[in-house]
Point group: C3
Chain length 261, copies 3
């Protein structure tokens, strides 16, 4: 990267926060090489979305390639949910170990888990994996009260989750978003009053959503479900090198006002 | 693929039904290799959409690569329509033969063909090709009565079409869909009362459309106009490994009810 | 390309008009090779959108590869705006020279420049670069009167801009478009009454926008912000090989009427 511009400071890999989590829903090796060669410093975790990791041919070399570049891999939460339904959690964990995967995502986007069972699973899994637990339903009709979000997130972190993911899906139209993609800003405000934002990963696939979180929490907010082709665009948002966040990082209040007149 | 989960049974290649037809609108060799190496078992036919096959540089090696992996290739119907207008159907067929292509798509999405001419073309083409004929207009303003869909489809099959495609375009906003992408479910119901769904290929580019057809007709419904990047996501829908079809394949009625409460 | 169909005549590279300008927001070498091998004759300029060129790893080989295929490269206007704010225009120009880039985009999509400063910059830059200047705001709330568009475009051309770009962003929802993506057709009419359309590059990322410009101005209208995956689809629109422009180029008025009945 050239040095002639002044840009916001970013955390460095391996990051504890400032994470970009990519959604891989079946990328091939050529495309993976492309994103590694152009954007490796900006990617922390790759999620093989929902059940795609189970059916993609020859995923072992792909996982190895990500890891060689210092990127952690995990399977999607929906696959974990199917394993829970079929009483195959042990087999699921053994498979992850065979693949050399050190992260596991636990969710209840489609199934329902009693709270005790959820926390028991987090406690057990966190002995062998870094646990990413996800809060929020994939059902657009389910709206959860803010205090329940906070309680659920705190419970997960206490039980051993490394980070808690707020649900958004690939589309960014459920969970902390309205069906239109608009952010439930009051909900985010309530959640981050109760929980440190560095402990959260906000799924935010849409550009307007990413820009909002960066304008609200700064360049090092953790963001998830980022498409491979959007990693570099997202990094420009974090650094104020795109119109949507340029005023925050590069204009004085007077200049911003002038721009908006 | 690992074996520890119970998943729905899929037909195997070469498939008579359970087809996934991919829309290729100009993919290069690296991307083609990617989808073949990750998803070859899930792809049956690749359509070089509308006139893209006519102008893409060096398509012969690409067609050969698809065929090497047991995938059939055809050109888009719009290209055929231009050949019809310009009285170049023979030249068009010779070109397909030079390219080693054994499938032909016949449509009238933009031009109008008298029924007799359409059936005569299907009869002639089916001597040398597997004919995929498409029913439905690309014009959003054209709405055809259900009985006309059924008559047209039956006529095509009788004349020699291998499968009949229901129009949806790349966008999924015409033909059997409303402009919003919503499915004309009453129309589909009427059509499949008169025609075996295994004889139809439903163009269904949007995820919600794919999920609807799978929830309605099962894992082996024929679906078309699937983007290359959506082949693995679609296969997860067919197997209940994504939230949108998980309840159908992996939850009991009681569990489904609990999930929706 | 085969020869059996009659298609509209296109200008040839290096083109003075009939330009297709691609938006590259972080493509890797495999994907670049793909678009060059399939679509090189149809690409004139590649823009490394907004600040993506500043942060993409190892862009020098990518720029070299584009140029080897006769394609000019430029950085996005937003990066230039940040350089202006930070008083680093000289450093910016030196960096472009090191990279072997001969085009520069100047815009005020986010910042505000006094007219005199803008024209002075165009005059200075045009001594060493081909200048692409962009007119229009990236702010959806800013609506500029048609005569101001015309004045600004004429001023830029007089000061030395090679072409003037009309703002549309990656999304096609600002500038000459409404937030819905609909074209401000009255505005385009006013602009092209005052300025030759060959001197303009219309940013038109959406297919319906591309089709409108082609149906209005013919196959050799200059279009920008075209996604890499849309280059071949766009070329089919220019040649009437897709439904949206087929009637204009391949149907007689009587046939068009029949198609629309």
């Amino acid at each position: 990267m050239p040095k002639f511009l002044k840009i916001p400071e970013r955390t460095k890999k391996p990051r504890e926060y400032g994470l970009t989590c990519v959604l891989d829903k079946g990328l091939g090796m050529n495309e993976v090489q492309d994103i590694l060669e152009t954007a490796e410093p900006y990617i922390d975790i790759v999620k093989l979305g929902w059940g795609t990791g189970y059916i993609t041919k020859d995923i072992k070399p792909k996982i190895g390639l990500y890891q060689k570049y210092g990127i952690s891999v995990c399977m999607g939460g929906t696959l974990f949910e199917v394993a829970v339904i079929q009483n195959k959690v042990d087999e699921y964990c053994n498979w992850l170990k065979e693949l050399g995967i050190g992260y596991v995502e636990l969710s209840e986007g489609t199934i329902q888990l009693p709270v005790d069972r959820r926390l028991e699973l987090i406690r057990a899994l966190s002995k062998n994996f870094r646990v990413l637990s996800e809060v929020g339903s994939k059902d657009i009709l389910v709206v959860m009260a803010p205090y329940k979000w906070v309680d659920s997130i705190k419970g997960d972190l206490d039980a051993g989750s490394w980070k808690v993911i707020t649900e958004g899906r690939e589309s960014g139209t459920v969970g902390v978003f309205r069906q239109s993609g608009e952010i439930r800003t009051g909900l985010i405000e309530e959640i981050t009053k109760g929980v440190d934002y560095e402990d959260l990963i906000f799924e935010a696939p849409q550009k307007s959503q990413q820009a909002w979180f960066i304008n609200e929490f700064g360049p090092n907010v953790n963001l998830g479900n980022i498409a491979a082709s959007e990693v570099i665009p997202l990094e420009t948002l974090r650094l104020g090198l795109r119109a949507d966040t340029l005023p925050k990082f590069h204009l004085s209040p007077e200049q911003t006002k002038a721009s908006q007149d």
